[in-house]
Symmetry: C2
Subunit: 507 residues, 2 copies
């Protein structure tokens, strides 16, 4: 018997977030939960990240209800979520009382493992959420956002791991959102943490597959003592997603490492998702291969398509290459932040501005805040000229305190504002939903009684479909106001002959 | 400076054979040859395998002319080919004189490295072609077809490597056509060969990517001392193809191993093929993910689609799963041959027969020959009952001699028959083309003066395309008699509104 390597499958959260724009309906996950629960995973990542936003914005689904349902359907397996530290699942810093309430409610509704990260790796932004997780009885996973820069050396990451442990972390996650973690670094980093923080320090490696090298990195991490790895069932893997669970299991044969996951059960899960995936082709990422240019730009897959659409919106779709080259410069000017939500969007958008309008001629408010410390501190030094411009534009001083220290208690105001909304319930869950998504929540509360949507569309086109299927009909069938696109079958007559023509909906 | 790991890029042969049905036109390879030649590869695989067949069958292109052109365009880099031992590039055994002529002509026209394999790993089938390569001044790469079975243990493969070395092999290839080579076996096998055959034994690992684990296997092979690995430019990689060249190079950073390949030049090559690949979408393999079920069935990707179409042709498209389970049994009955051309087709077709008509109720002539030793010997013992049936059906005895020993000199007959054909030249190249493809060569010789075809189709559909583009016109534009399919744009009027409808050609 070899050493057991544990697996967290991200199929129910990050896999469809990375590959299907987070659109998978709960309805399409329910049938497979029993097999996933029995399969022998360390945990299943099911919540957090962009799923909360997607639930209320696109799926008319209550994310708290989703969590409760997962708890019911997955009684044996630890549930795991991704939490953006002091930002929770939103895009700003929240006052500590709100953070604590969120964590308490997540635990109450069934969450076990909280992967808590901060985009800048600022430990101060992790302190309150991690303490809240501990207090509520959850598993607090302290997270290192992996990035590459002249200031991000292995000893710095190892030190960060020790600080996280000192803060009470139950495990340490090495989070490689852009697939930058190469095999040798993976080995050295895991080895370094185990040596400094103790051999019993639980290390969990999360790596995307985008650059094609990270399955090798997982092998090396395991050789160095890594305890848990993230993978995804193969039907929803690779591209800007994750390494396939099945491949990880097979890879370990004969190496002296083994997993507890049942190949038989996950084969069933894979067969299931092989059928489900095509239902979401409309939302599928175009990128299915390998891109090693990311090692230069460090730009995660999702960010590139964001920048591309920003550029196209400005009639400058041909300037993507310039932007890709500008991103590393903007990153250097802002102190080498890791690129992950929200820093990736902030740096990416500023790079677009620089290319279109000239270097820092215009600055987004968010970028000025990043420069001035309102998101926290960065490991690298900031470019003083750009800092001065940020100060001038934002008309506020740089700060060095923890950003949330500047916030006043806000729960009562949030509650009062939330309760003005139609259908908002007077419970912490709804108020938290409003707190995180004040623009989207009103519409969601109103529409919630209509029930969740399933935006997936069966790809089979019946040969005897009606001659015309107007868009309005397709929309009506989906049972909601979401824009549903599906292939249309027309019967057309050309040069005296009848043709059946199936046309994919434009995306 | 670390140890240099050399790379063979298979982009010009096996990559498009595995992913685009071997259809890439020479015209689409020419512009990239300069960069490939300058990039620093150990060799470029450019010829052999199915390319010869595809050239004359689909592309109206003289494969010998292709070889000469590659030689001219790639003056600095070794050219490499895949040779099916005594079968050459055809599907039967050839008499030794024909084998020698083929090898001589290949060397004369510019070939350097001959990867010589036998589907059954029968060394007797490798002896004459390898000796011919040595005599003609080429590099003879002795090949082990990797497979997994109760009789295929590491010591057996290591012994085979030693035998190949004794036969004069300049290097040893571990050929993993179905992506079965797991990391630990890769390590142990390379280590075992280096220990038994000497540390200076050049080891070249060829692995497909289909199961998702083989980039890790290449890492382990390299750690064990492997000298050369096969990869493919990322734009034409993964799925049932190969691991991406760029990922291999990046993977090695910091490990103490490095390559000589220029990242800058192969980025140009990749950008080029990123544009070219969509031209061949009609021929593209549907499979782009990872399939670990192959570890059970051992069926290479191409074989599954073959069996599927055989089944569909019999109205039994729903019985694929039964056939997949039958393949390992047929393989056991026939002595555990590795599954690679032609044994993969022979075993696969027999499995289809067994499922459709009952166990060995009907036997293909090829399967009977395989049972009776007419392709050579297998490592495992054959099922005596099935052997008896094969003997009864084929009405010939089993043999134990080298199959080609039963063949009489055949060159003069082949030449006489070839020269009867319209446009057949009286040179060895044309006669060899006829010898390998007697059914296809007559048509090819006749059409050859029309020049090579390019079956690639630009995916951009002009918005102002004519309302109808009849198939015959598309055909005419392609400049030959191949069936060319391209998207058609129709203008159709439905419910009083005009629509522009673009329809992909059926495949």
């Amino acid at each position: 018997m070899g050493r057991v390597v544990e697996i967290t499958d991200v199929i129910l959260r990050d896999a469809h977030q990375s590959l299907l724009a987070t659109r998978m309906a709960m309805e399409d996950m329910v049938p497979v939960c029993k097999d996933l629960d029995d399969a022998g995973y360390w945990s299943l990542e099911v919540w957090g990240g962009a799923t909360f936003d997607a639930c209320i914005r696109f799926l008319n689904e209550d994310p708290w209800e989703r969590l409760r349902m997962f708890r019911k359907l997955l009684p044996k397996t630890k549930l795991q979520m991704l939490l953006r530290g002091q930002n929770l699942l939103g895009y700003r810093h929240y006052e500590d009382g709100v953070v604590e309430r969120f964590v308490n409610k997540a635990v109450e509704n069934g969450m076990d493992v909280f992967r808590v990260f901060d985009a800048l790796n600022d430990l101060r932004n992790l302190k309150v959420p991690m303490a809240a997780v501990k207090k509520a009885g959850g598993h607090a996973q302290g997270t290192i956002c992996y990035t590459v820069s002249p200031v991000h050396k292995i000893p710095a990451f190892v030190d960060m791991a020790q600080h996280l442990k000192d803060m009470g972390a139950d495990s340490i996650c090495i989070k490689d959102m852009a697939a930058l973690l190469k095999p040798q670094v993976a080995y050295d980093l895991v080895k370094g943490i185990k040596e400094k923080c103790g051999a019993d320090t639980l290390i969990h490696v999360h790596a995307h597959a985008t650059t094609g090298v990270t399955l090798v990195s997982l092998m090396k991490a395991i050789e160095a003592g890594c305890d848990i790895v993230d993978t995804s069932i193969s039907a929803l893997s690779l591209g800007s997603g994750h390494n396939p669970t099945e491949a990880l299991i097979e890879m370990l044969e004969g190496t002296g490492f083994e997993t507890r996951v049942s190949k038989e059960l996950i084969l069933k899960v894979n067969n299931y998702f092989t059928k489900i995936r095509p239902r979401y082709r409309e939302f599928a990422s175009d990128f299915t291969g390998v891109d090693t240019e990311i090692f230069k730009s460090q730009i995660p897959g999702g960010m590139i398509s964001n920048m591309e659409s920003q550029l196209k919106g400005q009639g400058a779709g041909d300037r993507l290459q310039e932007v890709m080259e500008e991103v590393p410069r903007v990153r250097q000017d802002s102190g080498f932040p890791p690129l992950v939500t929200p820093s990736s969007q902030i740096v990416g958008t500023q790079a677009v501005f620089n290319v279109l309008m000239g270097k820092y001629k215009a600055m987004t408010g968010e970028f000025a805040d990043l420069m001035l410390g309102y998101y926290g501190s960065t490991l690298g030094e900031k470019n003083p000229e750009v800092l001065a411009k940020a100060e001038a534009q934002a008309k506020k001083p740089p700060i060095t305190v923890r950003p949330a220290d500047l916030l006043k208690p806000e729960w009562d105001t949030l509650r009062a504002d939330a309760l003005k909304l139609e259908n908002c319930r007077d419970d912490d869950e709804d108020i938290l939903t409003f707190a995180m998504f004040p623009q989207v929540a009103p519409k969601f509360f109103k529409a919630r009684p209509n029930g969740p949507l399933n935006l997936g569309v069966d790809p089979v086109v019946k040969p005897d479909a009606p001659a015309t299927a107007p868009a309005s009909q397709a929309k009506a069938e989906a049972g909601g106001d979401a824009t549903v696109k599906r292939p249309m079958t027309y019967v057309v007559t050309l040069q005296g002959r009848e043709h059946k023509v199936t046309v994919s909906a434009p995306t």
